[in-house]
């Protein structure tokens, strides 16, 4: 745009303004013209005010502006703005302009009270003035000198929101209908602005509230997330704890559905957590009474009905998913929430199969030991008496002049005495801490001989099945023979008529993992002795190893008790399985030896004495001394006697090294026994051959005689063959 143009516009504007002023003056000369100008000014103001107000969004500023501008428009002394409250029962003067406005501001009145109340209630303008637009009755008719009032409603989009009220025309007089029109126009213009501002304010409030509540929500979410994380951590910790507990733990809800199951519980029940979750408790935790094999009352039911902690009854067996049975001990307790309401049940249980077994074993051993103590006392004397009887019997039998009949009687007497000796020996096995006199040996010979010996002349056949390279064992052959004899004898007694006993022997290497009930890991030789006899009722199977338990009329009930004791003393174990009417199997595990079978091969065949030997016998029992002397003399030996250790040493000194062999009693009541005397004799002659003898075959010294300086051990009562064996072994 060029400067010329601009100057032209300026000029034009100026001219127009001048024209305008001229016209104004001309118009104001006439009454009608004056009014026109006035109206035009009013409208200009109206539009101007309207713009100002509409542009404003702050509600308080709007009210103040409206009051001020409206007062100006209608030249009112006082302009007040009543606005209907949210309850729509009262109204409050939210704005006022003019003298005394402070008294009015924020005053609240009921709708229907006062002139404003009338306008708000009727939603109509009110002019209290000369034009009589409103009166209520004669007394409210406006009179000159009275203050005039002009009120118009402020109409919102849907309903009336308040009013504009002018009180007193500036300079006295009355408001006119024209004032009413102007104020109505103004009210219409600003009501929208007021409503918008109020809506905006509300909206702002709301959005403020929204922001705040949004924040709270965020915080809450944060809190919840934290709580959740804490909960998850807690859960994890609990899960780890639960997993680490050495006992089985199962938790249920009140419906008896499984909600938790730890690792041990998984193992014992055979159910995985995954499978078990949500399942009925009874399905996973099947328990029966060990003796009756009936299902037991479920602890969970009891807890839910009683609300108390309960222990599980004894003899409870848990049947796992795969049918495995385990003795368990447990307790169940209610799970309560913080309000102490029962929300489930927790069950804690453990496998006590092994513990029960060990307890039973211990019990048996204790019983045997007490019996042994009792038996030991009598058995010792009894043994000595038997030795005398047996000695004399064998001496009598050496007499060539005996008649055939007498010889038979004596043989019978001898047989009975042997039986008596065996019984005494059995009793002595029980007595004080006796270790078997062990030697490295193979088992097959001992087993076969013992079994055949028992079964000779019976209608029972014995089948042997032995692995080829059986490991050697360290055994007291006499005792193991006794074991086999006892078991085979029982088996034959359980068979009515003819039957079969099978004896099998094999190597067994047990590892820790092998879960079956058995001895600890290691190398064993396993002996099983099976019969097809009557079988043992389940109700008594637990008792057969007890001393004096017998179902046979003539039974002493000691056979299996002794068997058990012998196997235990060999570091082995014995088990029984039996089925009524089918048969019984005894299984024995004996620890395999790491040594080779040297002593077993060194065994010297029995042969008659080659030369005369000088033998010194030391024993406190005179009867026994005499019998021994007679037996040895009959074998062609020279015998000297001593009653105790001191005497034996004296005799030995005097003999001047002519004594080839000394047989000494291990202990002499009130005197020096063989145990002490052997040292003295070896001092005199380190090459002296001293044999220990005792009725206690299981005395540790008898088992480890070499360590005490003896060359051999002899178990009383003596047999001729025993003497022969020892002499042949020691005197070459």
């Amino acid at each position: 745009m060029n400067l010329n143009n601009l100057a032209m516009i300026e000029e034009q504007n100026l001219r127009l303004r001048e024209e305008n002023e001229l016209l104004r003056r001309a118009l104001s000369e006439t009454d009608c013209g004056y009014r026109l100008i006035q109206q035009r000014d009013e409208f200009a103001k109206l539009i101007d005010f309207g713009k100002t107000i509409v542009a404003e969004l702050n509600i308080n500023k709007i009210f103040a502006l409206v009051a001020e501008k409206a007062r100006e428009l209608i030249s009112a002394e006082l302009l007040i703005i009543p606005i209907i409250d949210a309850n729509r029962e009262t109204y409050t003067y939210l704005a006022a302009a003019g003298p005394g406005s402070a008294d009015i501001l924020n005053a609240t009145l009921k709708i229907g009270v006062g002139m404003c109340g009338w306008v708000l209630q009727n939603e109509r303008p009110l002019l209290f003035g000369e034009s009589d637009e409103w009166w209520m009755d004669e007394k409210t008719r406006w009179e000159k000198g009275q203050q005039s009032a002009l009120l118009v409603p402020l109409m919102g989009k849907k309903q009336i929101i308040g009013g504009l009220s002018g009180i007193g025309k500036v300079g006295g007089g009355s408001f006119s209908v024209h004032d009413l029109d102007v104020l109505t126009l103004f009210a219409n213009q600003v009501s929208a602005a007021i409503e918008n501002a109020r809506l905006f304010q509300e909206g702002e409030l709301k959005s403020n509230a929204l922001t705040i509540s949004n924040q709270r929500l965020q915080e809450e979410i944060q809190e919840r997330l934290q709580a959740e994380a804490a909960l998850a951590a807690e859960r994890e910790r609990l899960a780890v704890t639960l997993r680490s507990i050495g006992d089985g733990v199962i938790a249920t809800d009140t419906e008896k559905k499984i909600v938790a199951l730890n690792k041990i519980a998984e193992e014992l029940t055979g159910w995985s957590l995954h499978e078990a979750l949500g399942r009925p408790f009874e399905e996973v935790f099947q328990i029966i009474n060990e003796q009756t094999r009936q299902s037991r009352e479920h602890p969970v039911d009891k807890v839910l009905t009683s609300g108390q902690i309960i222990g599980l009854a004894n003899h409870t067996i848990l049947v796992a998913k795969d049918g495995t049975e385990r003795s368990i001990a447990d307790s169940a307790a209610p799970i309560r929430d913080e309000k102490s309401r029962i929300i489930g049940v927790v069950l804690v249980f453990r496998d006590v199969t092994e513990r029960n077994r060990i307890e039973k074993e211990l019990h048996k051993v204790q019983k045997l030991e007490s019996v042994g103590l009792l038996a030991g006392g009598i058995a010792h004397d009894f043994n000595n008496i038997l030795a005398a009887i047996l000695g004399n019997l064998s001496l009598s039998l050496l007499d060539k002049g005996l008649s055939g009949r007498t010889r038979d009687f004596l043989r019978e007497a001898e047989k009975a005495s042997w039986r008596a000796r065996d019984l005494t020996q059995q009793l002595l096995t029980f007595s004080k801490g006796g270790a078997p006199i062990k030697e490295v040996s193979s088992l097959d010979e001992v087993i076969k001989d013992s079994a055949n010996f028992v079964l000779s002349g019976k209608q029972v056949t014995c089948q042997f099945s032995f692995s080829d390279d059986l490991w050697l064992v360290e055994i007291d052959k006499g005792q193991i023979s006794q074991v086999i004899q006892n078991i085979v004898l029982n088996a034959s007694q359980a068979i009515v008529g003819s039957g079969i006993i099978s004896i099998a022997c094999c190597n067994a290497e047990l590892r820790e993992e092998s879960k079956f009930i058995g001895p600890r890991e290691g190398k064993y030789v396993k002996i099983s002795i099976r019969d097809n006899g009557s079988g043992i009722p389940a109700s008594v199977v637990d008792k057969i190893f007890d001393p004096y338990f017998s179902t046979r009329k003539e039974g002493s009930g000691l056979g299996l008790a002794i068997t058990h004791a012998i196997i235990a003393k060999h570091g082995g174990q014995i088990y029984v399985t039996s089925e009524l009417g089918v048969g019984t199997t005894f299984t024995i595990y004996l620890p395999a030896s790491s040594k080779s079978e040297t002593s077993a091969q060194e065994q010297v065949a029995l042969s008659p004495v080659q030369r005369k030997t000088n033998i010194l016998i030391m024993d406190d029992d005179e009867m026994l001394r005499d019998v021994a002397k007679a037996m040895l003399t009959s074998l062609g030996h020279e015998v000297m006697l001593a009653a105790d250790g001191n005497e034996a040493i004296e005799v030995y000194k005097k003999s001047g090294n002519t004594i080839d062999l000394i047989i000494m009693d291990l202990t002499i009541p009130g005197g020096m026994g063989g145990k002490d005397a052997v040292g003295e004799i070896l001092k005199l002659n380190p090459a002296a051959k001293v044999v220990v003898s005792s009725g206690y075959s299981n005395d540790p010294i008898m088992a480890r005689f070499g360590e005490y300086g003896f060359c051999a051990a002899l178990v009383k009562p003596y047999q001729l063959s025993d003497f022969t064996k020892v002499i042949n072994q020691l005197i070459q």
Partner: protein
């Protein structure tokens, strides 16, 4: 009838008499009697409405020309 309090709002026009009266009532105890005198043409009407809406018992009202005296129990 004796009033516990008396106020004069003569010369004042609506809503000032009402506002003045409402303020006064708030300072008084229930059961006390307020006497109010006014000359606004709508005064009598307004006080009667005020008493009805606020459940105040109207005791007395009398007019001397434009001057109206009203007694009511707060």
């Amino acid at each position: 009838m004796n009033a516990d309090k008396a106020i004069d709002v003569t010369g004042k026009v609506c809503p000032l008499p009402l506002i003045t009266m409402a303020k006064e009532v708030r300072t008084m105890q229930k059961g006390q009697v307020l006497c109010i005198v006014g000359d606004d043409p709508i005064f009598e009407e307004s006080v009667i409405d005020f008493c009805r809406e606020g459940a105040h018992e109207l005791l007395e009202a009398h007019r001397e020309g434009k001057r109206v005296t009203i007694l009511f129990q707060v």
